[in-house]
Amino acid sequence: MVYHAGCYDVAVIGAGHAGCEAALASARMGLKTVAFTINMDNIAMMPCNPAVGGPAKGHLVREVDALGGQIGINTDKTFIQMRMLNTGKGPAVHALRAQCDKKHYQKEMKLTLEIQENLDVKQAEVVEILVEGEKVAGVVTKTGAVFMCRAVVVTTGVYLKGRIIIGEVNYSGGPNGMFPANELSKSLIDLGFKLGRFKTGTPARVDRRSIDFSKMKEQPGNIKIIPFSFTSEHIEREQVSCWLTYTTEETHKIIQDNLHRSPLYTGNIEGIGPRYCPSIETKVVRFKDKPSHQVFIEPEGRDTNEMYVQGLSTSLPEDVQIKMYRSVPGMERVEIMRPGYAIEYDYVIPTQLKANLETKSIKGLFMAGQINGTSGYEEAAAQGIIAGINAALYIKDQEPLILDRSQAYIGVLIDDLITKGTDEPYRMLTSRAEYRLLLRQDNADLRLTEIGYKLGLISPERYKKFEKKRKMIEEEIRRLMEIKITPSKENQEILKKLGTSPLKTPVALFELLKRPELEYENLEELDPERLLLPEDVVEQVKIQIKYHGYIKRQMEQAKQYKKMEKKKIPENINYDEIRGLRNEAREKLKEIRPTSIGQASRISGVNPADISILIIYLEQIKRKNKEREENGE
């Protein structure tokens, strides 16, 4: 029985990390939005470890935050440990990593959704997407409710035809004991989409009481807490520790002896798993010579005894899991509460999307998160907010928001997905970004707050505060450029004391600060007029001066890149008409349909000569059109 259940502007299918951001962005931009979840109790669930951030991922979180998203704020509310990683390796790769309280994280996010104006959250499994002509028209739930809407954002994570595999056992299911979504795949296929199959997995959760922590190394959080969100003020919070132990020869022997029962080697798993998240059995097989592997024991929350076992992700049979876990020092008597498992799921080949995350074939249909072949909460959230924003802009009939590779990791992520596709669940890495010295986590607000504000996702108060910060940074840098330090006797004495070479001619403080051995804080004596500035302002000033030469060079490169991005390819281009393209290039161009020459040049299989030919063809078209105009046609 089918019934009409209501009308919305935007319907979001799924309320994981992508779905939450999409729904919030759309609602906050004033659109009437509905979000569907298979289970209201599992909004913003973190089925793997409750960790947010890390290199590149932490960058994504800050970018989402600067655009007015929720993941950063929600993490700050619920983390139980916070660390800054990579502090010795340069400012561009500093990375925040938080351990969250899993249930608390969900509760906070659920409440945020519930109290959001313009947003309704409903428990329902969407089984069909309705399309009229080439536009999205609505969704149908399993119980027969038809919701009419103008845009749909699909954020189904790993639920599409989810299959759980534990050793010889496998069954249809979603993550963490949830139901899968078995029907929506068919609707997507019927709509003409090509799907692929990926796999991921998670380790067992174990009982805190059964662990002997005295045999492990404690990993406390940083004493000084740096929050994710640019809106978070100073946070003081008691933190919990994680614990480090190692696998033993015995562990590896148990795995080797039972490999024949592993679904990875029996052929029971078809989906392709991520290389950066291999199961322990894969690690033992691939790196035979490595005598032991790290195992981190991480609490899942403050008020639970469940502990996550990072490093021992597995889909071996349950009895083997128990044996194997018990071979690890400190885990001799461990009790497993939830077994580890592998999960296979359908994803949509992401080259079928445009840069605004709308599908190329159906207007108003957007996709974000793991359904696009990515992995990770942060990657999901990043796509979620962009899809939500663009769904809203689509309905408002405004230009889409497309961040480019020199603006944000989000831009790198989406451009990679839609231009190159992915052979494995895609994870963001700093090495994927060409201009990473520009895309720092510390300056995400400087890069993106303005955009978030214009979209209506950043409040005027927050924007005003941000403007003030930006101005202070600019003024301080200008001031440091103008102050000249003369080679006077006192000054030379001070410099000598600081362990740096004396001056020959007067030099701006700005230049002096570029010397690696000198720090802003130490030069107070030379700079008596200095104002007391907020910490985040000083940090920006320091980074912008110290790395000035490098940043300038990357900006130069980024400028070149942007020029090629600006050379647009008309949407209706007919690649069959272009003589001289190689067949491989022609097929690829037809498949990806790049929007610019820059994007075209990043497609594998399209070489520089093909690009030259494309440029000449575009010039030909331009001149022909001009001739036509001149002839008054």
């Binding site: 390796k89 290389r275 992700s313 594998s604």
Partner: protein
């Protein structure tokens, strides 16, 4: 793909005559020309009128050495072929200085033009009519195809082999840095700045070495690799000498008197030929017997051209027969020598055996037929029957340009290391160096880094 930088290339076919033109086009072409050009009256090129010709010398500004005596033509935009500022340098000293002039231009701020790029710019700048667009496309396509072909062949060659090796070493450095940055919590071997310095220094040394050898002529002198083959005492050395017009090899009537390894460069109608006389095998021993069929084949395989010498005064022997099998699919010219002596060779057999080869009757002693031989070589070259070496030379230039740019990037990386800057700053220039080398090897830089990380390190939660 950049349409704003300044490009340069040799714009005349190589090999013919002594004159060639290096063309520079783009915003900085006049500025670059001014850096490398000295006129006897110390004219400032940048102040000269458009469309004027100036006499002078091209010098290398690094060491003030004169490279060639030239005529320099200066044309300002927009009345030029590309509608950009163009400088054309007419060189007179033949192929070696011509190439050297181009290199000097490249070192001073120009980039080597892509195939068909001048014409492409001419079109995009509105100089060429719409109706000719198709022709422009054809030009780019065809030039690239040939270039690509040779480029790929070159990848098996030594210089590209070395470049690939360097690229692999840098890849390891980058993968180590990136793994350390992207997976800080893993117990992988985290690379130290000291280690990076060591590796970058080593690669830098190798690049310098390569650039030096490239400069001292190994590549400069490269011409058509030609091998003279034939059974003992058939007159191979005499032929070589006749072509060289100097008596370097000792020639007698006794078989087996060629003692030195002979490798000579000669110029036939402007085409550089590098002649190898049976790789220094003493003639008393049969070449095939001495080094084996496989190695002979290998030697022949490397050759661009074979000159097969037969003896008109002798029967067609088994030795001759064996050679035919080895040279079957090679570019070759068959020479019947000693036609001044009474003939015992059955020409029909020769014609049948070498049905697809040009056969020329000569007498080295009487200087008969040598002109025809030279004409034939020239014709084969210009009709593209022999792999066209001007493209090879350009390929080599590309390799050198890539090496030079990579060197610059690595020097910057070293500076960064000396300054005590962190890993991610160092990574920028090391990656930059790989990007430049990647232009030669054709590898996509970012994807291999990930592959390398996952091969080299055990990573995962």
């Amino acid at each position: 793909m950049n349409l704003e930088d300044t490009i340069a290339a040799i714009s005349t076919p190589l090999g013919e005559g002594g004159i060639g033109i290096v063309r520079i086009s783009g915003r900085d072409s006049i500025k670059i020309a001014a850096k490398i050009f000295k006129s006897p009256t110390h004219k400032d090129i940048t102040k000269q009128k458009s469309h004027t010709i100036h006499y002078g010398k091209v010098i290398d500004p690094e060491n003030n050495k004169v490279i060639d005596e030239v005529l320099l033509m200066m044309m300002r935009a927009p009345r030029t072929y590309t509608r950009e500022d163009i400088v054309e340098i007419n060189c007179h000293g033949g192929i070696v200085p011509l190439k050297k002039v181009l290199e000097t231009v490249l070192k001073n701020g120009a980039r080597l033009a892509e195939p068909g790029e001048f014409t492409k710019r001419a079109f995009l700048n509105g100089r060429i009519d719409l109706s000719q667009a198709e022709a422009v496309i054809d030009l780019i396509r065809s030039k690239t195809e040939v270039g690509l072909d040779i480029g790929l062949n070159q990848l098996q060659g030594s210089l590209s082999g070395e470049i690939k090796e360097l690229d692999r070493e840098l890849l390891e450095v980058i993968a180590s840095i990136e793994a350390s940055i992207d997976f800080p919590e893993h117990d992988i071997e985290h690379i130290t700045v000291e280690k990076v310095r060591e590796k970058v220094e080593r690669v830098l040394d190798k690049i310098n070495e390569l650039l030096e050898t490239a400069d001292t002529g190994k590549i400069l002198k490269e011409g058509l690799k030609t091998i003279i083959v034939g059974k003992p005492n058939v007159g191979k050395s005499s032929l070589l000498n006749a072509l060289l017009r100097e008596q370097r090899a000792i020639v007698t009537d006794v078989p087996g008197t060629t003692r030195d390894i002979i490798e000579e460069y000669i110029n036939i109608k402007g085409i550089p030929l590098k002649i190898i006389d049976t790789a220094g095998i003493r003639e008393t021993e049969d070449m095939v017997e001495k080094i084996g069929v496989e190695r002979t084949k290998e030697l022949f395989r490397q050759a661009d051209l074979l000159l097969i010498v037969l003896d008109a005064s002798d029967r067609f022997t088994e030795e001759d027969e064996l050679l035919t099998k080895l040279v079957n699919d090679k570019k070759a010219i068959v020479l019947i020598n000693k036609t001044d002596l009474p003939q015992r060779l059955d020409e029909d057999v020769v014609r049948k055996t070498f049905s697809n080869k040009k056969i020329i009757k000569i007498s080295v002693k009487e200087n008969i037929g040598l002109d025809r031989l030279k004409e034939e070589i020239a014709e084969m070259f210009f009709k593209g029957k022999i792999e066209s070496r001007d493209l090879t030379i350009i390929t080599n230039l590309r390799h050198k340009e890539a090496l030079r740019n990579a060197k610059e990037s690595l020097e910057k990386a070293m500076e960064t290391i000396e300054l005590g800057m962190p890993l991610d700053c160092i990574a920028i220039d090391v990656t930059g160096a790989r990007n430049r080398l990647g232009e030669i090897t054709g590898d996509t830089v970012s994807e291999d880094v990930l592959d390398q990380i996952f091969t080299q390190f055990c990573i995962g939660k």
